[in-house]
Amino acid sequence: MRTSARPRKRVPRPQTSPQFKEARLRETTGKQGLIKPTDWKGRVGMTLLETRGLTKKFFGLTAVDSVDINIEPGELVSLIGPNGSGKTTLFNCMTGFLDADGGKVYYRGGDISDLPAHEIALLGISRTFQQARIYRRLSVLENLLMGVQEHQGDSILDRILRTKKLNRLEKEAIERAEELMGFVGLTHLRDQPAGNLSYGQYKLLVFAAALMPDPDLLLLDEPAAAINPTMINKMKDHMVELNKTGMTILFIEHNMEVVMDICERIIVLDAGRKIAEGAPEAIRNDERVVEAYFGR
């Protein structure tokens, strides 16, 4: 990925940087330490993520064709569609990993279309990848710490000099990592190199790492793919549990059972276009969806 080639155009940043969030939260609650999703529940009113006419073309192929979606705070939404319908491309365009050819992405009302991926991540949007990317040579703990360290606002100088601030932040991060290892059940593998984990454990680790910075919006790319049924149920429970604490989740999934079970709303893509949107019941009986999946 060549980040440097991205246009470095500055756009006014929505006032939701972690520092801002943290400062505001400290003001209102007097709380110290990492912020839990529950602390934010019900505090935000506007649409969390919004795309307007988002379009991405790969040479002749239009992978995403003017897609409009809205994600409201606190929702648990699924993005489905047949293979090659542009789900992952849509994710990549929203999170800055691909430059869209047209359209806009708004996060809390601020335009993030031109921000590079790492800056979007710092706004509180966490995502996972279909291929379950992890740092194989780092331990499970280090993988998790890596997920949060850039969010904590310590400078390179802090890190080289090992200031008190850094030690405090690192301690907080480790506490948070241990909490999350307990949450997904990887505590016993704490110091194992992540490369030694099984595929299912990869998925759990990736999931936990995405949760480390305590995102406001969690984007998951096939969290339940290629893992065994027990693990799928675990993943389902985790998503529901997190959603209950106020975290907004949008996920891509092929496993209809998972989708129909836990989602309040489903968005269906086919050949790059949004063809349907609505509650699971409505989607199940939607002619266009059935047609997209099974043909006419």
Binding site: R2, T128, L138, G195, N196
Partner: protein
């Protein structure tokens, strides 16, 4: 980090090592051997700085001799033409190299993988041509001569005229200690973790908010800063700077040190530097067989220890307190 090693054991070992290093030239008594030690020290510092870029961030840069040479020339020019005192010339050398690295990093980091290696190689070659041909500035192939011997003056505390080889050795040792401290701070901190995240999975690193360009540039510039400082030291040590000092032979040696010592592990890199600069010099005793033995040594290492010397050491010395293993090593990567 399997077993917590006692900090006291660690401190005692470091202290013993330091005393041994200080005592070494007094024991050796041979000016030539001390000279080899100095060369080893310079290569250790260079290899450590090179490892920041190649081993930690994972960019195969071939521009290191250029930064070394630019530092050497900058310090030499400052010292001969402007009469700058040693410390200022030394700092100047490092800063010029770092500044140049910052400048060229903009086009270089638009390249990836092999293109990056070729681009930096081109840069190194161009810098050597510049040294060869800008005669008014560098003296060209006739070399830049007469760099004064360093005189270290910090007014109330210190006034040290460095002249004997042993004194140069201590100056080198001081420089090396600073470089080791800096590199270990960088690589064991969150900065090092960010470096490794970029090497391992750049896409994921970006999703965690890591700005790859920032860290790559940082590693590249710090690497050049160290290389330039070593170059400045070299200029004052040999008192002559030639265009041939910028040759790619250095890259070859550095790559050998890194890959046979253990990429991305400080201990391996230090060990590699000692073996692969000290040994070939030492072997001059057996002049005819020197390069043959060196070649065989290289072959044996690469065949028997594909993870480098450090990988092998970690395996054999696992229970030894000094071998606190980090989870980073490929020996743990059982896939």
């Amino acid at each position: 980090m399997s077993k917590e090693k006692s900090p006291y054991v660690y401190a005692a070992l470091s202290l013993a090592l330091l005393i041994a290093l200080i005592a070494l030239p007094l024991v050796l008594k041979s000016g030539y051997l001390v000279h080899i030690l100095i060369a080893t020290g310079m290569y250790t510092a260079l290899a450590l700085s090179y490892d920041l870029i190649v081993g930690h961030v994972g960019l195969l840069s071939l521009a290191h001799p250029a930064f070394f040479g630019v530092g050497a020339y900058a310090a030499a020019i400052a010292a001969t033409r402007l009469g700058t005192p040693f410390l200022a010339a030394f700092v100047f050398g490092g800063i010029v190299a770092a500044g140049l690295a910052l400048l060229v990093s903009f086009p270089f980091f638009r390249l990836a993988g092999a293109s990056f290696a070729i681009g930096t190689l081109g840069f190194a070659l161009i810098m050597q041509l510049v040294a060869n041909n800008s005669i008014p500035l560098t003296g060209g192939p006739l070399c830049l001569m007469g760099v004064p011997r360093p005189r270290l003056t910090i007014p109330p505390l210190l006034d040290w005229q460095v002249s004997s080889t042993t004194e140069y050795y201590y100056l080198m040792l001081a420089l090396l200690l600073v470089v080791v401290a800096l590199c270990s701070r960088l690589t064991t901190s969150r900065v090092g973790r960010a470096f490794i995240s970029i090497r391992e999975e750049e896409t994921l690193a970006m999703a965690s908010g890591v700005n790859p360009l920032k860290y790559k540039t940082f590693a590249f510039v710090i690497g050049a800063l160290i290389a330039g400082s070593v170059g400045a030291y070299y200029a004052h040590y040999s008192t002559v700077v030639c265009p041939s000092d910028l040759s790619n032979y250095m890259t070859t040696v550095l790559v050998i040190i890194l890959f046979l010592g253990g990429v991305g592990r400080m201990r391996g890199v230090i060990l590699g530097s000692i073996i692969f600069t000290f040994v070939p010099e030492f072997l001059r005793i057996a002049a005819t067989w020197r390069m043959v033995i060196y070649g065989v040594l290289l072959l044996v290492t690469i065949v028997r220890m594909p993870e480098g010397l450090d990988g092998m050491l970690t395996k054999t010395l696992r229970r030894f307190p000094f071998s606190g293993t980090s989870a980073r090593g490929p020996e743990n990567d059982q896939r």
